[in-house]
């Protein structure tokens, strides 16, 4: 084992770019009062980080920092994905931070006592950048401690992001709920790491794997507990059943771009970490892991679908949608094979863009987008926006030729190959429930009369983000093979 080397820092180029931008934003916070500057800087940093991640890969896989950090196709794939999600969420935040005009119907004057200054944009963007940094560390980690640190950095920033709209009581409540449950999950994760260390004497994945292989297949009770605790901690991060309870409240209370960030980047990072832990560190226990993951996936899909049926709040609906989609994404890991992991990678990639698109439309509609009834008659007022929403909803349902179909096809193929036919049937039957849930929105948009005045037009930044999401959703559906060269299991 070599000690850390200055050259190793080059491996962390994407993370360094994000951290430096975040620090610059914090230092200049007092000078940056207008969102566009902070947003532009963040988007630039995200794009630079994505390019740097891709560029680092050109030299092949490398490991650094004494075998704690790796740079391989798997990690860089997720880093590019996280950076893209960060860029899109930043673009989507541009309207959300715009000071809202007073309600024309009530004309309530602003009370100087209760009106607090809005959070400064620099801090908001710095938190987004730091959270993304943590997620990137989690994708690169080949050591349980680095994994824990990365995830904690991401989660701590997320707690604050959820509560950053300080004047909204629901936002504070959501942040506290998220924090309480999140700390519990972090404790579980840490406990799992401690048990794994106790049983194998190591925290890095390769050493854990070799400890397993030297011991033979008969598994140790402590190790089983460690696997269970680690799975529970990571299931919380991706909001899989039964660790999903925080998601609807947090998404509803948080501002919509933050909810979008939690539903996409955060989930991608959690799945990246879970994939590497399952396939590298605990590969020897594939049988146990497979049944644990199958249970998590199946129950997430069922619970997400059933709970979504009765939602009337769009963000809660999307929260349950993200729970069910976490279940679908986990299906790939159930088989425990590299093909399965690649299926999950494809799923996550396409899911991130279509979910960001759906959240983007919610953001574009402003206050009206948050409740399901706000969608009534949208197609008559804003045909373009309604068509985009229809596209994203069809994709989330998995109707071809959209990206969602490609995603569904690859994960179901992987579990059929693994011999879990019943799980495959369950997954597709629940997608019919999802069709009902999503198309209820389509029914409201296309088949009801408008009840509210048309929403105002949204900014160019939101427009750009929606266009990118729509483009990926369409291309991913028409050319399902376009991701194939990029998805490489760990």
């Amino acid at each position: 084992m070599n000690g850390p080397n200055v050259k190793d820092l080059a491996l962390l180029l994407p993370e360094l770019i994000l951290v430096c931008t975040a620090l610059a934003l914090i230092l200049a916070a007092r000078r940056i009062q207008k969102t566009p500057w902070a947003a532009a800087l963040t988007v630039l940093a995200a794009v630079a980080a994505a390019l740097a991640s891709a560029w680092l890969l050109s030299g092949g896989s490398k490991t650094g920092f004494g075998g704690m950090i790796t740079v391989d196709a798997y990690s860089q794939f997720f880093k590019v994905l996280i950076a893209s999600a960060l860029a899109l969420v930043t673009l989507l935040s541009v309207t959300a931070d715009r000071p809202s005009r007073p309600d024309p119907r009530t004309h309530r004057p602003k009370d100087p006592q209760t009106h607090r200054p809005k959070p400064r944009p620099a801090e908001y963007h710095a938190l987004l950048l730091l959270a993304s940094t943590g997620m990137m560390f989690a994708a690169s980690a080949v050591d349980l401690l680095i994994l824990y640190l990365g995830l904690e950095l991401a989660t701590l920033c997320s707690y604050i992001l959820v509560g950053i709209t300080v004047e909204k009581p629901t936002s504070n409540e959501a942040a506290i709920k998220y924090f309480l449950l999140g700390s519990f999950a972090s404790a579980l994760l840490l406990y799992g790491i401690a048990l794994a260390y106790g049983a194998t004497g190591a925290t890095d994945y390769a050493a854990i794997a070799s400890a397993f292989s030297s011991r033979g297949p008969g598994s140790h009770r402590i190790l089983l507990a460690a696997i269970g605790l680690l799975a529970a901690g990571l299931a919380f991060k991706i909001a899989a059943f039964p660790f999903h309870a925080w998601a609807p409240d947090a998404y509803q209370g948080a501002s919509t771009p933050v909810a979008a960030f939690l539903a996409t980047a955060s989930k991608a990072a959690g799945l990246a970490a879970l994939g590497r832990v399952c396939l590298v560190a605990f590969a020897a226990e594939a049988r146990v892991l497979s049944s644990v993951l199958a249970g998590l996936a199946g129950l997430s899909i069922i619970v997400g679908s059933i709970m979504a049926l009765s939602q009337t709040d769009m963000k809660r609906l999307l929260a349950y949608s993200s729970i069910a989609h976490a279940g679908y994404a986990l299906l790939g890991f159930v088989s425990g094979t590299p093909e399965g992991a690649e299926a999950t990678m494809t799923y996550v990639f396409l899911y991130v863009f279509m979910t960001l698109g759906a959240f983007g439309v919610v953001i574009a509609l402003g206050q009206r987008g948050e409740s399901l009834n706000g969608y009534q008659g949208l197609a008559a007022q804003r045909p373009g926006t309604a068509a985009l929403m229809l596209l994203f909803l069809l994709s989330l349902t998995g109707i071809p030729p959209t990206a969602g179909f490609t995603a569904k096809f690859v994960v179901i193929l992987s579990i059929v190959r693994a011999g879990h036919l019943a799980l495959a049937v369950l997954a597709v039957v629940c997608s019919v429930v999802w069709a009902f849930v999503y198309l209820r929105v389509a029914v409201l948009m296309y088949m009801k009369e408008p009840q509210e005045p048309a929403p105002s037009y949204f900014s160019v930044a939101v427009y750009t983000a929606l266009a990118v999401a729509a483009l990926v959703t369409i291309i991913g559906g028409i050319f399902p093979g376009s991701l194939a060269t990029w998805v490489v299991s760990p």
Partner: protein, 484 residues
């Protein structure tokens, strides 16, 4: 061949739909839709002229690399079974554009765009040479039809649209699993390659059931037909025409394209239950039709009975039955489309679908009554008109298989004649209903031009059925499991 005919035919309507959505003028949308659908019909013409009727092979094949990592290519081609449906889809879309010219007044550009997307899905489905493409077009079809019913339909349109969607998707997701199971077994989804490989009988049985779920809902077969009356009744005229003319044929086409060639052992295993369900659909559908008081519901339920003949013909598994089934699909596509067009045209003037509000239409609209008479007789299987030949072949095939099946089919034909003649009598004959006095019911030139091609086809196929049968003879003969 100077251009890729099938690809052009398939995607030209999609181009038209995009153009309509980009330009967004109401008048312009109508003209673009008419132009596109006529152009699509025109570019598909070489298919019918240059088709080699002596071969059962796939013709006009076009292949392109699509998803190399999955070993799935873009492959299209036609054989004798799929070709007539492409003709039917291209023709009916033109008529749908024409019949909606004044009937659709709200969100006109979106309406025509949805119609053209549906045309792409229909033609693409019949042209697909692998199961993956077939599935994509199968699912793509659902979205525009859902919107056509739900946005431009009657009072209970939302209920009908959602019911249609849930029924269809419940079936097709099981088809997705079956498709994936086939893919993971053989690593290919090409129809010919799948047909050439052999599968374990148990796996075949499971796959048959999964495909059956998708196909039976679309046909629709007896216990899962309940979406059809609602959807057909609430849909706008063009939607009903697309539903009755093409969408119902997709299920039966699926049996011929997937179940018979790829799962031959399972087809033998499930043959008797399928025949029994078909016989039940014929007789039950006919009795329910007799009881209807709403014109559109009546025609919708008659489709259940008529499609029962089609599935009966397919699962007789003899040449006469299968040829009759394909011919009958075309016939039903022509006639039910024509009947829905007739109903739509008169509904545009009277705004009622209750049979009791009609009567004596013959005195007010002689040309209309003549057309309706022709189509009712054709639907009832009157000799000299097209359905007669199809039903004759199917009943012949049924008698060869089991005598009681032939008996049931004859019973269905008799009931069919009864409900159609009685329907015609109540609407057209007798004294003029006071509610209709003063209405201008007679057809205008555009409407006559819409109905005339269908009337011509009904007579033409009745007198010279070989113009369709000659196309499908070789292909049906080459289907595995079909006895001469």
């Amino acid at each position: 061949m100077a251009y890729p005919i099938l690809t052009t035919t398939t995607f030209l309507p999609l181009v038209g739909a995009v153009a309509i959505l980009l330009f967004r003028g109401e008048r312009l949308a109508r003209w673009i839709a008419l132009g596109t659908s006529l152009a699509t019909f025109a570019v598909s013409a070489p298919l019918y002229c240059h088709f080699d009727k002596t071969s059962s092979a796939l013709q006009f094949v076009e292949t392109a690399n699509w998803i190399p990592t999955w070993n799935i290519a873009y492959e299209v081609g036609v054989d004798g079974i799929s070709l007539p449906f492409i003709f039917l889809a291209a023709m009916l879309t033109v008529l749908c554009v024409s019949v909606s010219w004044t009937a659709v007044r709200t969100r006109v550009p979106e309406f025509y765009a949805a119609l053209l997307v549906a045309e792409t899905a229909m033609i693409g489905l019949f042209a697909a040479a692998n199961l993956f493409l077939f599935f994509i077009f199968w699912e793509l079809m659902v979205v525009p039809v859902f919107l056509l019913i739900g946005v431009w339909g009657g009072p209970a349109r939302v209920h009908a649209a959602v019911k249609f969607l849930l029924f269809t998707l419940s079936g097709s997701v099981l088809m997705l699993v079956a498709m994936i199971a086939l893919y993971s077994e053989f690593g290919t989804l090409n129809f010919r390659e799948l047909a050439a490989s052999t599968l374990q009988p148990t796996l075949q049985a499971w796959l048959f059931v999964a495909f059956l779920a998708a196909f039976a809902v679309k046909v629709p077969m007896f216990p899962v037909h309940t979406w059809l009356p609602d959807a057909h009744t609430e849909a706008p005229t063009a939607g009903s025409v697309i539903l009755a003319g093409i969408l119902l044929k997709m299920g039966a086409y699926g049996f011929l394209r997937v179940s018979l060639p790829i799962l031959p052992d399972a087809v033998q295993l499930f043959r008797t239950p399928m025949l029994a369900l078909s016989a039940v659909a014929i007789v039950y559908g006919a009795y329910v039709t007799l009881a209807q008081t709403d014109i559109k519901r009546l025609i919708a339920f008659s489709s259940v009975s008529h499609m029962g003949f089609v599935t009966l013909g397919i699962f007789t598994l003899n040449r006469s039955g299968v040829e009759g089934a394909v011919l009958q699909m075309i016939n039903h596509g022509i006639i039910s489309a024509a009947l829905f067009l007739c109903v739509g045209m008169i509904y545009e003037r009277t705004h009622t679908r209750e049979i009791k509000d009609y009567g004596g239409v013959a005195k007010l609209a002689p040309a209309y009554s003549t057309f309706l008479a022709l189509f009712c007789l054709a639907a009832a299987g009157f000799p000299g008109l097209n359905s007669f030949v199809g039903e004759f072949l199917i009943v012949g095939g049924a008698f060869k298989t089991q005598v009681w099946l032939g008996g049931m089919a004859i019973w269905g034909v008799a009931l069919g004649t009864t409900y159609l003649i009685w329907f015609y009598y109540r609407v057209v004959m007798g004294e003029v209903n006071p509610g209709l006095e003063g209405l201008k019911l007679e057809l205008n030139a555009r409407e006559i031009a819409t109905l005339a091609p269908l009337a011509f086809l009904a007579v033409c196929l009745g007198l010279y059925p070989d113009c369709v049968l000659s196309y499908l003879r070789e292909t049906v003969g080459a289907l595995p499991g079909v006895t001469p």
